[in-house]
């Protein structure tokens, strides 16, 4: 069951209805049963794994706290639990990658039969694993008391709006599951509106852009330089519309049920530096990385001063890249971001001085530069391997020269210009819809930057509010790309 589907909408409506008529003290049970049913529909074989990791971590957290209270040694329990929780992720996600890497360098070793393990990766494993690890760290550091109720804890780990791809649940969420509130018109409609906007971003914008991106990335050499560069830019917006769309559906669904999740995005494409981008993109993950990886590493490397900070940063982004997927593309993706951040760290003063001298120009340039950098790096993120990423870069570079020569020879006629986009998979109408979708995505972010959209819309007159609701509903129904079976980009992680 996909989050952007009618079946999910019906599922959410059913779970909400049952939850609202259930006494507050037992609502966690409704959420737990619904979450396990949801996960079982997606990955029946791995429901037991989810349950096992939940049980182990709950027991470990309780034992850890109990031993600490009694003044007995407890760190080894923490480390044992963390290693046990990480083991399935390491085995299923990274072992085949490591085996392939070893097989490449060891003469005579075979890389066959290694790749198929990747298909066994349970959906959401990367997400709920680090959520559990975060919880264990919090208990270990005494930031929270361990949850006594196994049912509520299990609901916290497996809550269906976020179990597949986040936002990564913070330990404080367990508290919300003690007494999820009943029906409240304002909260429920606010959740539905957010989920509807998320659905719009996914099916109207992301899936539409995905058609061209998939075509071009499947065979970049078949396309003009203009088409490949265009597809690279489209992917930048596709991945944002897709993931933020997913997050909005997840956050909106949880809100309907009375659970408030932390936002996952804060207008990332308005960033004017890579550092700022990471403070706005996939917030639940970047916050997790900050708290559980970067800060501990920085503390560990403190004695090396600036070199230590750089090492911590690079190591964090190496882990971030690897978390996204067991492939060299993700390692390179993470490292390029890490190196860019180091560059920004080293040029901080110089950039601040430049901005003081001509603020508008520098702001515009840094914004365009950041987006272009992200577009370029996302090529590596999207490509199935580094060879395809290289083919895309090469095609853009050489293709644009060829395109210029072609247009010079053909006199830049409308036919010649159109021919540069032939085969990307857009009719004129689809192209207009795709560009309008991108404009809407960024336009809403620009407005949202100052005042949240929900607040703005609340202040509108009734006809404008209802007009917007009808437009979003009609947009989803009539302009959604429902004809292709598309998953969320972040489901693969």
């Amino acid at each position: 069951m996909q989050l952007a589907s009618l079946s999910y909408l019906l599922f959410l409506a059913g779970v909400s209805a049952v939850s609202f008529v259930t006494p507050a003290r037992a609502r966690w049970a409704v959420l737990l049963v619904a979450s396990y049913c949801f996960y079982a529909l997606l990955a029946p074989k791995y429901t037991l794994l989810l349950a096992a990791l939940t049980l182990i971590s709950w027991f470990a957290a309780r034992t850890l706290a109990a031993r600490r209270k009694n003044g007995r040694a407890h760190s080894w329990i923490f480390w044992l639990a963390v290693v046990t929780i990480l083991a399935p992720l390491l085995a299923l996600k990274y072992a085949p990658f490591a085996a392939q890497a070893v097989a490449r360098v060891v003469p005579g070793a075979s890389v066959e039969d290694v790749g198929h393990f990747r298909f066994l990766l349970p959906v959401g494993l990367s997400f709920f694993t680090i959520q559990i690890v975060g919880y264990l760290v919090d208990v270990h550091q005494e930031s929270i008391e361990p949850e006594k109720h196994i049912g509520r804890y299990a609901a916290f780990v497996a809550l269906f709006p976020y179990v597949t791809a986040g936002p990564i649940g913070r330990s404080e969420l367990v508290e919300q599951l003690r007494h999820p509130p009943g029906f409240n018109y304002e909260r429920v409609t606010s959740g539905i509106k957010l989920a509807a906007w998320g659905m719009f971003k996914k099916v109207v914008i992301a899936d539409r852009l995905g058609v061209a991106v998939d075509n071009v990335f499947a065979a970049p050499d078949n396309y003009s330089g203009v088409a490949v560069a265009f597809a690279a830019w489209l992917y930048l917006f596709q991945v944002y519309a897709d993931f933020s769309g997913y997050s909005d559906i997840a956050i909106g669904s949880a809100r309907v049920l009375g659970i408030e999740l932390t936002p996952n995005f804060a207008q990332p494409y308005l960033s004017r530096s890579v550092g700022e981008y990471w403070r706005r993109w996939h917030l639940s993950f970047s916050t997790w990385l900050n708290e559980y990886v970067y800060f501990p590493l920085s503390a560990m490397f403190r004695r090396w001063s600036r070199a230590g900070a750089i090492a911590a940063l690079l190591l964090t982004f190496f882990i971030s890249g690897l978390w996204h997927g067991a492939a060299w593309t993700f390692v390179v993706f993470g490292m390029v971001h890490g190196v860019a951040l180091v560059g920004e760290m080293l040029t901080n003063k110089w950039r601040a001085n430049a901005e003081r001298r001509s603020p508008r120009l520098i702001r515009a340039l840094t914004w365009v530069g950041t987006l272009t950098f992200l577009c370029g790096v996302d090529v590596i993120f999207r490509a199935p391997n580094l060879g395809v990423a290289w083919a895309v870069y090469r095609r853009i570079a050489l293709g644009l020269i060829e395109d210029a020569q072609f247009l010079t020879a053909q006199g830049a006629s409308p036919g010649a210009i159109k021919s540069l986009l032939v085969g990307v998979g857009f009719s004129a109408e689809e192209l207009v819809l795709a560009l309008a979708g991108i404009a809407l995505l960024i336009g809403v972010d620009v407005l949202q930057e100052r005042v949240p959209m929900s607040q703005r819309i609340r202040a509108w007159p009734g006809w404008a509010r209802w007009g917007t609701y009808y437009a979003i509903a009609a947009g989803i129904l009539f302009f959604g790309s429902f004809n292709r079976n598309t998953s969320f980009v972040y489901y693969q992680f």
Binding site: Y185, Q410, S413, P414, A416, S419, G423, R484
Partner: protein, 307 residues
């Protein structure tokens, strides 16, 4: 809760009314119930708004064992003349602007619904390009697989609106108006159309594979396959050389000839040098001659070859 129910109903009402309209008008005859609007009117409107959706519904209603797949060049072939010549029922699955990808999808769609006996593929060189990859059949098949999609399909919505409008105003729907004079359009097709298709030509290895799979399937099932390379005017034929694609064109022809009986009209001939027998450089108007040459005994306009 009452307030919520009221708001939900208010939001849903226009959509429910629209869904009712779709059931009543049923623009693509998906449900096959009710006859509020005539089949002829639906063919005029829906049949032009989404060729693949219309034809797939029509074929599913009444499948035939002999099918023609192609683009606009074969779309206008007079089926009744083919049926008179052969004494067999035919269905023309050709779509305006059709691509090889669509022909392949249409073939499998037909094959799943009838015991095929004979299939004819009308493939032009400019269709046989990796960049000519549009496939409207994906949408048509998705609508077939999921009835809910029929209600929210934009072509269905447009057709429903136009059908209702035509019923109310008694106006005959005009969907395809020529926007240029014949000579102007001829020139436009050479100046704009030809660079669009030949400018980024890429030989389609994948289409060869798709057609090979169909040929193998047909061989096992005893289905007769033939290829037709429709005629284009010599003005357009010359563009192949201008864009340096003669080698690719020869490779395309050789592939078809090796694969199945091929009737190639796309050569300089009495037909292709006669501008009067073309609507524009891409579209011949000599449909009867093409039918006689492909399904009858006439010879002289095309090169016939057997593998």
């Amino acid at each position: 809760m009452r307030r919520f129910t009221r708001s939900a109903l208010l939001l849903a009402l226009p959509f429910l009314l629209y869904f009712g309209l779709v059931v009543i008008t049923d623009p693509f005859e998906h449900f096959g119930i009710g006859n509020a609007i005539s089949h002829a009117q639906k063919e005029r409107v829906s049949g032009r708004l989404h060729y693949a959706l219309w034809k797939s519904h029509q074929y599913a209603k009444s499948p035939t064992r002999r099918v023609i797949f192609g683009d606009s060049r074969l779309d206008k072939l007079p089926i009744d003349e083919i049926e008179a010549l052969t004494g067999e029922r035919y269905f023309n699955f050709s779509l305006g602007g059709g691509t090889v990808a669509e022909m392949v999808s249409a073939f499998w769609f037909s094959d799943a619904r009838a015991q095929l006996e004979e299939v004819t593929f009308g493939i032009s060189f400019f269709n046989f390009s990796a960049n000519e990859n549009m496939n409207r059949f994906i949408e048509a098949e998705a609508v077939f697989d999921d009835r809910l999609l029929y209600f929210v399909n934009r072509s269905v919505a447009r057709a429903a609106g136009q059908l209702v409008w035509a019923e109310i105003t008694s106006a005959r729907p005009q969907l395809e108006h020529p926007t240029m004079g014949r000579d102007e359009f001829w020139d436009y097709q050479l100046r704009v159309g030809a660079p669009r298709i030949y400018g980024r030509y890429v030989y389609p290895e994948a289409y060869e594979g798709d057609l090979q799979r169909i040929l193998e399937h047909c061989r096992m099932r005893g289905v007769r396959v033939q290829f037709v390379i429709p005629p284009s005017h010599v003005d357009l034929q010359q563009k192949v050389a201008e864009f340096g694609l003669l080698a690719e064109q020869e490779r395309f022809r050789a592939f078809l000839r090796r694969a199945a009986p091929t009737i190639d009209f796309d050569n300089p001939s009495e037909l292709t040098t006669d501008r009067a027998r073309f609507g524009d450089p891409f579209h011949p108007m000599a449909y009867k001659e093409i039918v006689d040459e492909v399904w009858g005994n006439a010879r002289g306009l095309a090169v016939h070859s057997d593998p």
